[in-house]
Symmetry: C2
Subunit: 97 residues, 2 copies
């Protein structure tokens, strides 16, 4: 793979580090390698069905994640972290759709 993704990340980091603060609007975000969907859901005291309905996931997808059959891809992992850290915000925004 030759680390091209890492190189790109470094390029972006240099972009960030290189200049003054005013130019560096953006911090580089690291996508978590894995998230514990079941733990997040149980902390919210929801059933699989409730959790799926509340955040717009297909029920089967939540089940696949929790059973380790599938791994949520990048965007889903990010969303799940937001749900973990700020569930009220997530629910509020998503319900206003």
């Amino acid at each position: 793979m030759s680390g091209s993704k890492i190189l790109e990340g470094l390029k972006e980091a240099l972009e960030y580090a290189g200049g003054d603060e005013s130019k560096a609007r953006v911090r580089i975000v690291k996508v978590p390698d894995q998230v514990d969907v079941k733990a997040i859901r149980e902390n919210l005291k929801m059933s699989q069905r409730e959790f799926a309905a509340a955040f717009g996931f297909p029920l089967a997808t939540v089940q696949n994640w929790e059973q380790g059959r599938r791994k949520p891809e990048g965007s889903a992992r990010m969303l799940l972290r937001i749900i973990e850290e700020a569930p009220e915000t997530a629910e509020r925004v998503l319900q206003t759709g």
Copy 2:
């Protein structure tokens, strides 16, 4: 497809409507059919590279979305809506990874 997804949604809605408020913890969320990634990004005054770095998307994926070559799947559309409505929260949470 026979509308099985719709049926499940109805089942969940009945679950919600059936009981008292105390049991109905969860509102059913509708995943937006499409999101305007370019508009969201430009509102934040970011380049594609900045936007990707700030929220953990691969740059190529952002480009695919904006060019209409790919459509962000459900979880990504939800995340994008949160970025649209509460970018500060999204950045804050994701940076604390």
